[in-house]
Each structure stands twice: as C-alpha cells, then as structure tokens.
C-alpha cells in the first residue's frame, strides 16, 4: 500500500449519517497523486457528501480520511488551503465581473498582485473568456460560468481539485468543450482531479481511475478498462446468411442465451455470464446457417455501471436492506 505522501486521498471506513439517513457507508478509497479520478453514482449516492467530508467541511460520523496527508477532522483549514473546489453550484458572484470573481479568490489565497493578474489572464485566455472579463457574470451562459468556476478552482495552483458534476446542465457542445478544457488542464497543471459525475462517457474519456458509489457504499474501483472487464456484456454480434425468424425464436430458448434478435442477416445474441459463444455457432452451423463473422461486443463503462447498479439493487432487495 502506498504511504501518505504518494496518495492524494485515503479514506478508511468513512461513514457519515444525517439523522437516520446513512449518506456514506464505510467508504474506503485510495487515490494516487496526479490522476483524474472519477466518482460515479446516481443522484443521492453520496458523492457530494464525500467531497464535503474530504474538504473538511463536515466531519465523518465514523472512520478516518486523509487528504494530501492531512487529517480531514483536524486539518480542514490546511486541506482547503491546498485544494480547489467546484461544488454543486458554480458559486460565482453574479454581480461582479469575471475578473473580480477571480481577483477575490486570488486575494483569498494570498496570491501576490502581479502573479494574480498574470494567472487570471492566463486562465481566462485558456478558457476563451478574456474578452468578456469585465462583464458581470450574471449575464453569461451556463457553460461560460462553469468554465469560470473551473478557472477559479485551479487559480491558486492547488495540488488537488474537487469538481462536483462540472458538466451538469450543459448542452452537448458546451459539455464537450469543458471536457477538453479539463483534460488539457489536468495534463498541463499536473493536478490531481477528483471528479464526480453521472456522465459515464465523460468519466471514460477523462479518468485514469473510477469508483462507483451507490447508497453511500463503494461498489467498485479501478481503471475504466478494469471496470469494463468486470462488466462483460455477454453480447455477441454474428453476421449470418440464411437466418430465419423461426431459428431466432429457437435460439432464444437455448440454455445460456438470454436474448436473441435478428435484423436482416445481423444476429445479436446476449449470453448468460461466462457462457461460451462456440456452442451457439455450432448450433447455427448445424441448422445450416452460414456464419460469416462472430464478434464479441466489448462492454462499455455504462454496461459495467448498469451491471453494478443492477447487482446492488438485487442484493439490496434480497437482503431486504436499504442503501
């Protein structure tokens, strides 16, 4: 296990209760420095609570967490000094100009005047906002505000940045633009990014590691490839000649076949977990169907995520428990 200084975040059995509601349930997590970590989960999964605990804004009910080697209960102020955050809302002063918004937080982080001016110019230019720097932020689009909020979060060159659903509520073009900006920023600034999202495409493109949380419990953690491998889709695409509707119906009734559908010569088969495609191909050949191509469909992160969500729901129901 890496020791403190090599880890940006270490959480050990962190639990947080709000009255009868358990928002975090024995969360244990280790995030190395210098990566983009995606924290995936549906609404109400505990992602925002995790950020609040890690920033030392609230104490855990039980367990222990360290951020940049600092204790979240004891060293909240020191953690917030070294971290940046874009929380649930952009948190911008809409009556102030973009420049003044950044200037205020630059002053709060005690960045010397000259450096502050230079840094604000650098960030606003990078995000394409420099020309609008004197506009009151209230007049800006949601996408521009989110970009400014990201700029504010990294203004003081923090070692770790928390971004809570940064692309939430943005249109696809703005989402793609901000995603590119985030990727470039993480690469150029060498900062560790803790990103919560329920946008799986975003996580897959940006994150070196992802964790999946639901009902406050961490269900899985690993690289997107590792999670995809866990969520083997079991889907197979077969290009055939001579497949009939009758044969498709028979095929769907075979053991280990969950579903089978055909569209022209294209046959899509979903197999039970761990089942081999060879007996299916043999069955097709036996029934005089030509098999031109067999291709296993690679699971996406979404498949893995939905598998985890489904499995957790089933487990929860079977145990009669709550999340």
């Amino acid at each position: 296990m890496p020791n403190g200084p090599e880890l940006a975040i270490r959480a050990e059995h962190v639990t947080r209760d709000f009255g009868p509601v358990r928002a975090l349930d024995a969360l244990s997590l280790e995030i190395p420095k210098g990566i983009v970590f995606g924290f995936l989960g549906p609404n109400g999964a505990g992602k925002t609570t995790a950020i609040r605990v890690l920033l030392g804004l609230i104490d855990p009910s039980a367990g222990h967490a360290e951020v940049l080697g600092l204790d979240t209960r004891r060293d909240g102020s020191a953690i917030r000094t070294r971290c940046g955050a874009l929380l649930e809302h952009p948190g911008l002063y809409e009556r102030l100009s973009a420049y003044d918004n950044l200037d205020f937080y630059g002053r709060a982080w005690r960045i010397p005047r000259g450096d502050r001016q230079e840094r604000i110019r650098e960030l606003l230019t990078r995000f394409g906002l420099w020309e609008r720097r004197e506009d009151p932020v209230g007049r800006w689009s949601r996408g521009m505000k989110q970009k400014l909020a990201v700029a504010r979060a990294v203004l003081h060159r923090p070692a770790l940045v928390f971004l809570d659903e940064p692309t939430s509520g943005l249109d696809p073009v703005a989402t793609a633009g901000l995603r590119e900006d985030l990727a470039a920023l993480a690469a150029q600034e060498g900062v560790t990014v803790f990103l919560t999202t329920h946008n799986l495409n975003e996580a897959e493109r940006l994150c070196a590691q992802v964790g999946v949380i639901r009902g406050g419990k961490l269900l899985a953690v690993g690289s997107p490839e590792q999670l995809r491998a866990r969520g083997d889709s079991g889907r197979v695409d077969i290009l055939t000649t001579g497949i009939t509707e009758e044969l498709v119906r028979h095929l769907a009734g075979l053991p280990d076949v969950r579903t089978a559908t055909a569209s022209g010569d294209h046959l899509a088969v979903s197999l039970s977990n761990g089942a081999s495609v060879a007996p299916i191909v043999a069955w097709l050949v036996q029934h005089e169907v030509g098999v031109e191509e067999v291709r296993k469909v690679r699971a996406t992160l979404e498949d893995a995520f939905l598998d985890l969500m489904g499995a957790e729901t089933t487990n929860g129901e079977a145990a009669g428990g709550t999340t």
């Binding site: 609040r52 920033l55 804004l57 609230i58 104490d59 909240g76 102020s77 917030r80 000094t81 971290c83 955050a85 874009l86 929380l87 649930e88 809302h89 952009p90 948190g91 911008l92 002063y93 809409e94 009556r95 102030l96 003044d100 205020f104 937080y105 002053r107 709060a108 982080w109 005690r110 009151p136 909020a149 504010r152």
Partner: protein
C-alpha cells in the same frame, strides 16, 4: 487574519458598489434619501438641523437601518445565490468571513450617515450661513458618531442571526423590518403606557443624572450588547452548521 478580513471587506464593497451604481438595485433610493436628508431637510430646518438633539438618535437609526438591509443581502443572499458553500470551501476562516461582512456593512452604513451629515452641513451653511459658520457642537457630533457605529454593529450582529434563519433575502429583510419596529417603537410604547406621575418622575430623575452621563450609559450599554450579539453570531457562523442550512 487581518488580510483575510480585508479581502472579504473588499469583495463586499465590490458588490455594494454595484448596487449603489445601479439605479434599479437600490442606487436610486440611496440617492433620493441622500437628497432629502442631506440637502432638503438641512435647507428647510436651517440652524435647528444642526442644534437639535434628535440627531443623536436619528443618524444612528438611519445607519442601522441601512446596515440591516446590507447584512441581510450579504449573509442570506450569499446562501440564496449559492455562493456560500464555495466561500466556505476556500481557505478563509469562518470568523474572517463573518467579521469581514460585518465591517463592510457597518462601514457602508456609517459612511452613508457621515457623508449625509457633511453634505447637510454644507447645504445648511450655503442656505443659512450668512451670519457665520453653522457647526455641530463637538461633543454632540462625537456622541452621534459613536452611537452610529455602535448601533450599526448591534444591528449587524442581530442581522447575522436573522439572516442565518431566513431562507431568502426578502424574508430576512421582512424580519428585520419587524425587529427595527420592535426595537424603536417598543420602548416608546412602554414609556407611554406608564402613568403620568411615573413618566414625570422618570424624566426628572434623568434630568438629575445629566446628559453626559446618560450618553455614557447608552454608549456602554450599546457596546456590551453589540459585543454579546457579535460573539453569539461568531459562535453560530460555523462551516459545519452552515453547509446544511
């Protein structure tokens, strides 16, 4: 700590400036108020405007009213506009944030009152100063300024409590309106409810105590009350609680 407090004061003033410069957002009412209080009233009342004892109560009341509106916008508004949690996630301490907000509002309220006093003094001298300069009695002027600062601090402290309980700026300002009426009208109504003999005896006793000593008592009382209320506000303004508000 001092640097952090001034950083918050700077930010609050940027927002106040925007409000003041925008006619729709309060700039117009401030301008009308300044014209009436700083020009019209002094010109109409003449030397009486300077000599009246009422200034000791009037200017502190005006500044405190202004502070109440600003502190509601500053505290309840910060939460309503979803900027509070980001501020709490910064390196600024709870006390630096709160003290900065209180100082900014008090500076604004007191500054507005003092500026009006100065404009009024110019106006009254331009209109009625043909027989020489008309000036405030130094002691009364000093007492007025001290009352204004202390009343503003007290109102700012009360304002923090009200604003932390209100979910919107409007709600906080309405609660403030009621608090101001209770604080100003309450003692007057109570006094009027007393029998004629009791009131006469009370006034006679005040007369024996003397004006200077009464002023000193009021200053001491306001100081202690302000200190208690602001200490309470500092104890209430904590990240752990505010994040859930």
């Amino acid at each position: 700590m001092i640097h952090d407090i001034w950083t918050v004061v700077w930010k609050e003033w940027q927002e106040f400036r925007d409000q003041l410069l925008s006619l729709r957002r309060g700039g117009l009412s401030a301008l009308i108020l300044a014209l009436i209080l700083g020009v019209v009233a002094p010109v109409q009342l003449g030397a009486e405007w300077v000599e009246s004892r009422l200034i000791i109560g009037y200017w502190p009341f005006l500044a405190a009213t202004m502070v109440s509106s600003l502190i509601a916008d500053s505290v309840a508004g910060e939460r309503e506009r979803h900027t509070l949690e980001t501020l709490l996630a910064s390196r600024l301490s709870d006390s630096a944030i709160l003290i900065g907000k209180i100082i900014a509002a008090v500076m604004y309220g007191v500054g507005f009152a003092v500026a009006n006093l100065a404009i009024g003094l110019i106006a009254v001298n331009v209109a009625h100063g043909e027989n020489g300069l008309i000036l405030f009695a130094p002691q009364r002027f000093m007492v007025t300024i001290v009352f204004t600062i202390l009343a503003s601090l007290l109102m700012a402290g009360i304002g923090v409590f009200i604003s932390l309980r209100a979910s919107t700026v409007k709600q906080a300002q309405q609660a403030f309106g009621i608090a101001i009426i209770v604080l100003t009208m309450g003692p007057l109504l109570l006094f009027n409810a007393l029998s004629y003999e009791t009131r006469t005896a009370f006034i006679a006793r005040l007369g024996r105590v003397g004006e200077t000593r009464i002023e000193a008592y009021v200053v001491a009382g306001l100081f202690v009350l302000s200190a208690i209320v602001i200490a309470g506000a500092l104890a209430r303004f904590k990240r752990g609680k505010l994040v859930f508000d």
